[in-house]
């Protein structure tokens, strides 16, 4: 908890000047006023890494997590503002720079991902606001020479109750800055008195985003900036042998052709010149060892590892014995494909390298890693690398990677001007880092009453964590991301055995993808639970309900979803209804989906009903929004998507080959929130995790056959 420390040297260096820097006045009054996104605001009153108040009255909240659609700027601002006692219309917000103060402990670095933001900041940001408010009250009490206990705060000012005198936070900033920061914890508000938390607030980024004025990384413009676009070796691990740029250099507007070990960048007066120049290059690659990898290679490797050695990841009781003695044995193998992120904003990064400093404008989920990479490439000290984090036009895990920042700095250090590199959509898809393909084998035993007595499960696939955060790989070699939804379930399973055969995917780099282990795990487990229920001849909801003994919150969402979806009611011919129940990211979800299959086999998801218990809710409408969007994101992948490889090259290049669910294919979605006073769970990825299992189970209900391979509309085993 960084309260009481100011660990930001850059800011501190600027503090002296802060009082003199006149920030523009924040629009006051209308709740729909545009919240300004600012950078490098300073103020004499900076009691911690999250709050700045200047004498001009400007109140800046520095938000540790980056906004990529999940509404976190609004949610985190609400946490601080609740305790600071300011209105959301009184603040401006700033994306946190790379700094230790903003590290997300669960992720080991400054990072936004894994649905951790609200869980991680639920207490710390409220404390940050409370500390600031405490100091402002003390400053006012000192000026008035009254007991702080006789003062209250409201809407950015301190009021002395008995006399009615008021002082704004701005008027108190200089004095508050002189006070020592409390070392003992400050009291937080009783949740029953929350003004903001739990009450739907409009998104702070909404006005700028609908006006088209929100600046994404791709929108950055710097004086004398030029535009670059890149072709990297389409086969992973390949290197550049030769490039003939004679034709490219003749294209009007092309300025330079830059090379690094495995990529070429054409720089032009605008993206179009750069793109035309790139197309005119004749590039010779040494494609290296991966030039023969195909999708077949990937799946074959995974299926082969269903036999042979594996690491025991989890045991409970004697699962194998229980299965051996079971009345019925159920067995299934599930296969999931490589997936691309394909956010709407293609990969981009703007960099200006000079002898003294390096400035980077980019949307990143890992600002500190990106900065450190730039320092390494340029040889500049880290404090001479300035990373300006921007709105992200869809992250989904893609921007937990920073290799494109490294690449951009490698190119930009070769030129004197600021260089904005934008990848084409084709480059974005073909050079993505992919959600791994997995194969899972499950065996379950049912007793004579149709009750699950033991579950044996092998997971085969890469360990993403081993590359992304090697120190987080469990000592036994298991990627604990794979335990999500498989070990941590909403069920009481009497005996369980889980082992893991690690097989890294040849020819691609694998990475985090929305829902991470939850998305892959829920599909497998919830498909298999359905298969068990079918084998036991028990209704799928009832089968699950019987297993939720230790998890009343799970049972509550299951019952609510079933009720709202009219589970059991008659459906038209060709329509099936499926359910999925999950406990991932600290939240419980039950999803009931209706899917229609035409006689020709085309699939249409008609309706989804979701019941959610994610603990205490910060901004309820944004929880709903995340579930709606997460489901649709998950459905695109579940129904359509599969990244394929031929001769080591990814074949999916744009939205004509990597299909995205569209408005007229999207189901009606109802989300029902359960009131809860438990600590918040994560929500940004839960809808995505639910999608494939609920859809697969609905399709199975409609046709009587199982769908064990994703994507669901692809060729089935």
């Amino acid at each position: 908890m960084p309260v009481g420390t100011i660990a930001i040297s850059r800011r501190r260096a600027l503090l002296g000047a802060g009082g003199l820097l006149m920030a523009a006045m924040v629009p006051q009054g209308s709740l729909r006023a545009t919240t300004r996104i600012v950078e490098d605001q300073t103020g004499p009153f900076a009691p911690n890494a999250f709050v700045r108040i200047a004498p001009d009255g400007s109140i800046t909240l520095i938000l540790p997590n980056v906004e990529m659609g999940q509404g976190i700027y609004t949610g985190e601002a609400m946490l601080i503002a609740e305790e600071l006692d300011v209105g959301l219309d009184q603040i401006q917000i700033e994306a946190a720079p790379p700094d230790d103060a903003y590290i997300t402990k669960a992720l080991g670095t400054e990072a936004t991902g894994g649905s951790t933001s609200t869980i991680a900041t639920w207490t710390s940001l409220r404390e940050a606001g409370a500390v600031a408010r405490t100091l402002l009250v003390r400053a006012a009490a000192n000026r008035w020479m009254v007991d702080p206990a006789s003062c209250q705060t409201e809407a950015g000012m301190v009021r002395h109750g008995p006399t009615g005198r008021t002082l704004t936070y701005g008027e108190l900033a200089v004095e508050a800055a002189a006070l020592p920061v409390p070392t003992s914890p400050v009291a937080l508000r009783d949740p029953s008195t929350f003004r903001l938390i739990g009450h739907a607030q409009h998104r702070l980024d909404g006005p700028a985003k609908v006006a088209g004025t929100a600046t994404f990384g791709i929108d950055i413009r710097q004086p004398d900036m030029k535009f670059g676009t890149v072709a990297a070796c389409p086969v992973m691990g390949g290197v550049l042998l030769h490039v003939d740029d004679s034709a490219a250099r003749k294209i009007p507007g092309v300025r330079e052709v830059l090379t690094i070990g495995n990529a070429v960048c054409v720089v032009g007066d605008h993206f179009w010149a750069a793109r035309k120049g790139l197309e005119a290059l004749e590039i010779t690659w040494d494609e290296g060892v991966n030039s023969t990898v195909s999708t077949e290679t990937v799946y074959r490797g995974l299926h082969e590892a269903l036999q042979g050695p594996a690491i025991v990841a989890h045991t409970k009781g004697d699962a194998k014995g229980a299965i051996a003695g079971a009345a019925t044995r159920v067995e299934a193998v599930y296969q999931q494909p490589l997936l691309a992120h394909a956010p709407m904003e293609p990969i981009n990064c703007t960099v200006h390298v000079t002898a003294e400093r390096c400035d980077i404008w980019v949307g990143t989920q890992v600002p500190m890693r990106a900065r450190d990479a730039a320092a390494e490439v340029t040889g500049l000290p880290k404090d001479k690398v300035f990373l300006h984090n921007q709105y992200i036009g869809g992250g989904f895990g893609r921007r937990l990677e920073h290799e494109y920042v490294t690449q951009a700095v490698q190119f930009a250090r070769q030129v004197a001007y600021p260089l904005k590199i934008v990848w084409s959509r084709e480059e974005d898809l073909a050079l993505d880092r992919y959600r791994p393909a997995y194969v899972d084998h499950l065996v379950g035993g049912l007793d004579a009453h149709g009750k699950l007595v033991g579950l044996s499960h092998r997971i085969v696939g890469p360990a993403v964590v081993a590359r992304w955060a090697p120190e987080a790989l469990l000592p036994n070699g298991v990627d604990d991301d794979l335990l999500a939804a498989t070990v941590e379930t909403p069920y009481a399973i009497p005996a369980m055995f889980l082992d893991y055969a690690r097989r890294e995917a040849p020819g691609v780099v694998t990475a985090w993808w929305r829902g991470v282990g939850g998305t892959r795990g829920v599909f497998v487990i919830e498909s298999f639970i359905d298969e068990l229920a079918a084998s036991a001849k028990v209704d799928p909801v009832e089968f699950r309900r019987r297993m939720t003994g230790d998890h009343p919150r799970a049972r509550a969402v299951l019952d609510l979803a079933a009720e709202k979806a009219e589970w059991g009611s008659k459906l038209p011919e060709g329509v099936g209804r499926g359910v999925a129940l999950q406990y991932v990211f600290g939240s419980y979800l039950a999803t009931v989906m209706e899917v229609e299959l035409s006689q020709m086999g085309t699939v249409r998801v008609r309706r989804a009903v979701v019941a959610v218990d994610c603990g205490r809710v910060v901004n309820p409408d944004q929880v709903v929004s995340q579930i709606e969007g997460g489901l649709i994101f998950g459905l695109s992948a579940a129904l359509f998507n599969e990244v394929t490889l031929e001769k080591g090259r990814v074949q999916e290049k744009n939205f004509n080959t990597y299909r995205v669910l569209r408005m007229n294919e999207s189901p009606a979605i109802e989300v029902h929130l359960i009131d809860s006073t438990e600590d918040p769970g994560g929500i940004g990825e839960t809808g995505t995790a639910a999608a494939a299992a609920a859809a697969a189970n609905a399709m199975a209900a409609a046709t009587g056959r199982r769908y064990r391979r994703l994507p669901l509309t692809g060729v089935q085993a």
């Binding site: 985003k209 413009r221 179009w272 904003e345 959509r425 709606e628 004509n656 408005m663």
Partner: protein, 151 residues
């Protein structure tokens, strides 16, 4: 040298004949509200109005625009329907990452100007060419319906 009428002003630009309007807007005229998503007319992020019709700026060579007026998300200030649309978007918090939303909004305005009371089917028909990876479709549809009710 081309002369383009953008957001009510004439701009002289010296660009190649095959350069799509999108890049002229973003990189030459400095109007970044219109977004690059796919470059092949499949996602709608670059939707602008040409002569009041919603078109994909990524697939329209600027040299084919002629003297038809171009309106981007930055040029909507005076427009009554646009005001209602953005208000409807904000009222129900449509946006998530927001990247596709200028294109969605431009498509919605063009739809509403030709059909102020579209049915859900008509909304789907007009809007399904615009991809949203965050999955805000349900809210977009609702916001368009709400505009129809408001005007």
């Amino acid at each position: 040298m081309l002369t383009l009428q953008v957001n009510g002003a004439a701009h002289q630009v010296d660009v190649p004949d095959d350069m799509p309007l999108l890049w002229v807007l973003r990189d030459v005229l400095g109007l970044p509200g219109t977004k690059f998503g796919c470059g092949i007319g499949e996602c709608g992020a670059c939707t602008v109005h040409v002569d009041g019709k919603a078109v994909r700026a990524c697939s329209l060579p600027a040299s084919l625009v002629g003297d038809r007026p171009v309106t981007t998300i930055e040029g909507l200030a005076e427009d009554e329907v646009a005001t209602e649309v953005t208000k409807a978007w904000l009222d129900i918090d449509v946006v998530q990452c927001g990247y596709c939303q200028p294109g969605q909004i431009m498509a919605a305005i063009a739809l509403l100007k030709s059909n102020l009371h579209p049915s859900d089917d008509e909304i789907d028909q007009a809007m399904s060419g615009n991809i949203c990876r965050c999955g805000t479709y349900r809210r977009i549809r609702a916001a368009i319906r709400n505009v129809a009710g408001a005007v």
